[in-house]
């Protein structure tokens, strides 16, 4: 990682100083993973500005703690762990638990929405909003599992590590999460 040369007493950052700080492995790490982290925070928090702030904070935390990363997990998993903790702290502090988050899972179990029926979409213009409304209506655990499972770089075992459960538990809950998502998504059309 490049160090930044600044004059003593200098209070503002020059372009050269910023560029120097940004060179190297960390810029490559941001390039590779920022889209995934931003998308997770966007759909977890439901607000682009909050997602931008959260993504900034996640990568800054990663930068500060980069010496602690021992390579025992994939970088992507490590970043996701920071992002999930950050989003959950924010959601708790904002008291933004959705009404349906407290609904018993049995509600989704009885929802007549087969998960093997394809989701058909005619209008992509407001698709992001539909997806957000759907995710917001799901229990937080389902939302997180679906978002992580959507990342093809993560295995069920890694999703289990991130959500502190076994791969089998992830598989079972994902099945229910898919049904729940499909049921709510169709209602948002």
């Amino acid at each position: 990682m490049a160090s930044v040369a600044l004059d003593p007493g200098q209070t503002t950052l020059t372009d050269a100083a910023v560029s120097a700080a940004w060179e190297g492995d960390f810029a490559a790490l941001y390039e590779e993973h920022s889209r995934a982290i931003y998308y997770l925070t966007l759909r977890m928090l439901g607000d682009p500005t909050a997602a931008e702030d959260a993504t900034h904070d996640v990568f800054l935390k990663a930068y500060r703690n980069r010496s602690r990363f021992r390579g025992e997990s994939a970088v992507r998993t490590w970043l996701y762990r920071i992002a999930i903790n950050h989003c959950q702290n924010l959601l708790q502090s904002w008291h933004r638990r959705h009404m349906l988050s407290n609904v018993d899972e049995a509600v989704w179990e009885t929802t007549p929405a087969p998960s093997d029926t394809p989701l058909r979409i005619l209008e992509t213009k407001e698709l992001g909003q539909r997806i957000q409304r759907t995710l917001d209506a799901l229990p937080e655990e389902y939302r997180l599992l679906l978002l992580l499972a959507a990342d093809q770089q993560l295995s069920y075992r890694q999703i289990g590590e991130l959500t502190q459960q076994s791969a089998d538990a992830v598989r079972g809950k994902l099945h229910r999460a898919r049904r729940a998502f499909a049921a709510v998504f169709r209602k948002t059309a």
């Binding site: 600044l6 200098q10 920022s34 931008e52 993504t55 930068y63 058909r120």
Partner: protein
Amino acid sequence: MEPKKLEHRQTEQTQAQQHLTQQPVLEFNTPEELLRYDAAQVNPPTRLARRLSESIARECKTARSWWRRLWRWGRED
């Protein structure tokens, strides 16, 4: 209405109908597929990289200042 104008209007209507019927129907077998499609449409704001690089540069500056202060304190004694 003149025949030419009527013909023109009918052609426009047909084209509009064709446009509607030709609108692609996206189909996703699982929510994960849909989310992957959605994720591919979403990019982090370009200003975010700049903002983060500035924050990291400040971190570097703060770390350096701490050592500089310590070094100066040692010399003044």
